[in-house]
């Protein structure tokens, strides 16, 4: 069972067990992790599940679509090189380490 390690903007870490095939966003929302809003429920429409992915996790993640790339330009906290929308990050069995921004809206 992969674990998603969420670090919030204040440095608090939450470790949540996820299921293979679920997204990082789903894992967060179902367990009420603050810092992930996900108003659209994962249909790539709202850009409120923005996360910063730890460098060494980048390789294991699915590639970014053009639509995700465009949506990332509208996040509440400006995107960085390691920004992703967590609804697009399906768990494949490995642990994932992400940091949530100080606000999503």
């Amino acid at each position: 069972m992969p674990t998603v390690h969420f670090t919030d903007a204040d440095g608090t870490v939450r470790e949540i067990d996820g299921n293979v095939g679920d997204s990082v966003m789903e894992t967060a929302v179902r367990n009420g992790v603050p810092g992930i809003v996900a108003e659209c429920g994962g249909s790539l429409s709202c850009a409120t599940c923005h996360v910063f992915v730890r460098e060494d996790c980048f390789e294991q993640l699915p590639p970014m679509s053009d639509m995700e790339d465009e949506m990332l330009y509208g996040t509440a906290i400006d995107r960085q090189d390691n920004s992703r929308l967590s609804c697009q990050l399906k768990l494949d069995g490995d642990d994932v380490f992400v940091t949530t921004p100080s606000t999503q809206v």
Binding site: E26, C40, G41, G42, S43, M67, E70, Y73, G74, V105
Partner: protein, 447 residues
């Protein structure tokens, strides 16, 4: 696991009534608005017990995917569940399934008892109505035939999924978001889909003329048979006399249909509010803090009629919004009210709809616009309409154009403008031309 199983489950302690336990807050309605209210209250430190009560036999789930990914079979029903069972337990929130409240007795201090059809009762200190809306029924001969379906909740979606295999020809009635989303999903499943709309255009008033026309052309280009200005006179039965076999139009044409799916809008659920003596009119009338006319009950979501929260809207103008975003934002306002604070509605109303490869995102409300600017890039499949009133941008419909959507949403949220003249070139990024000041052609205040 079958979809029915995954949506259904959850044994104790979440099932069952808790008639004996008085709850601090009883939330009637366990959909988006009710769930958000409970979650927001806990985030604000509300420490009384909460009961989140729904009339369906499912754990609280999200609806938008029912007509899209869920119908297409690209996501599991488990993905629709809002929160894990552990979350509710850890947060001292009792989730009650399958109880339909038929009467509420309430005192002036806001406390009372809600009575369910089952005979169970739920005493509360404070009441919230997040009772949503129900599908508008079509009243025409044959409307009660088997395989004439609606799509509003999970049971509707499960039935449609269970029966779609029997059908090759599907007729959809209603050219709104549900009709178009379901039509796209069913087309993707290989069905022969015809969509009938009574009016002269698609999507009613939710989008502007240009966007409606764009969707009409785009769907027709993708092979969807859309017929506007088309009136249904009756549904014809098959040989058994029990199930639908065709749809007869007012010109006498009969379209074969083994399934008819009706999406002709919703009606807010106001029965309980009326029984409680609350003011009702196109929904439960609430003030800007989501409080109903008795001064204690809060109402949130599709069922609530509120003062228009959009900056610059006419004084006294009221509005009822059917959207996830509204359920969320209104629930936050209500949560503040229940914790003794007064906070205004934050943010700008927004909507989305995914149909085939068309991603529609709407920011703001286009009501009252006096100018439009169209940004169209057919090569990249992008299309946006920006709406202006007095030179100030008030809304945008964006198709496959998240950058435009985000730029407009952010401009509206921060009270800025995107000058119309500069916005017409689709190659110009709207973000780069957003300005702090109104444009020169804005009329003076009060003009």
């Amino acid at each position: 696991m079958s979809t029915a199983e995954t949506l259904q489950p959850t044994p104790q302690p979440m099932t069952g009534t808790r008639a004996a336990t008085r709850t601090g807050l009883l939330i009637i309605g366990a959909s988006q608005a009710g769930v958000q209210l409970a979650v927001s209250l806990r985030a604000l430190g509300f420490d009384e017990h909460i009961t989140l009560l729904g009339d369906e036999d499912h754990r609280p789930y999200q609806r938008p995917a029912l007509s899209k990914e869920f119908l297409q079979g690209t996501i599991e029903s488990e993905s629709l569940i809002f929160r894990s069972a552990d979350y509710w337990v850890e947060h001292n929130i009792s989730v009650v399934k399958g109880e339909r409240i038929v009467r509420v007795d309430k005192d002036a201090d806001g406390s009372g008892v809600a009575h369910a059809a089952s005979g169970a009762s739920f005493p509360f200190s404070r009441l919230a109505l997040t009772v949503g809306a129900r599908a508008r029924r079509m009243e025409v001969e044959g409307a009660d035939l088997d395989r004439v379906l609606y799509l509003r909740n999970a049971d509707d979606a499960l039935e449609l999924k269970a029966r779609i295999g029997e059908a090759q020809d599907v007729v959809l009635i209603g050219g709104g978001f549900i009709g178009l989303e379901a039509a796209s999903s069913l087309q993707k499943l290989g069905k022969n889909v015809t969509l009938l709309e009574l009016g002269p255009r698609l999507v009613g008033r939710a989008v502007g003329e240009e966007t409606a026309e764009y969707f009409l052309q785009a769907h027709r280009a993708r092979g969807l048979d859309i017929r506007l200005n088309t009136n249904v006179s009756r549904f014809a039965a098959d040989d058994s006399g029990r199930a639908v076999a065709g749809v007869e139009l007012s010109d006498g044409t009969v379209l074969p249909a083994q399934i008819v799916l009706i999406g002709i809008g919703v009606i807010p659920n106001t029965d309980l509010a009326e029984q409680l003596g609350l003011e009702v009119g196109n929904g439960i009338v609430v003030d800007r803090y989501s409080i109903a006319s008795d001064g204690t009950t809060v109402a949130v979501g599709d069922c609530a009629n509120m003062p228009n929260p959009v900056p610059g809207s006419a004084p006294g103008e009221r509005i009822r919004l059917e959207s996830v975003n509204n359920a969320v934002e209104q629930a936050k306002v209500a949560a503040y009210s229940l914790t003794g604070r007064r906070e205004e509605y934050a943010g700008i109303p927004w909507f989305w709809s995914n149909q085939a490869d068309l991603k529609l995102q709407i920011a703001g409300l286009c009501t009252g616009h006096d100018q439009t600017v169209i940004r169209r890039d057919d090569e990249r499949g992008k299309f946006s309409v920006l709406y202006y009133r007095g030179g100030q941008i008030i809304a945008a419909d964006c198709v496959n154009a998240p950058l435009d959507f985000m730029a407009v949403k952010n401009a509206l949220a921060s009270g800025r403008n995107i000058p119309a003249a500069a916005a017409a070139d689709p190659a110009t990024a709207l973000k780069t031309i957003t300005t702090d000041s109104p444009t020169a052609n804005q009329p003076p205040e009060g003009a």
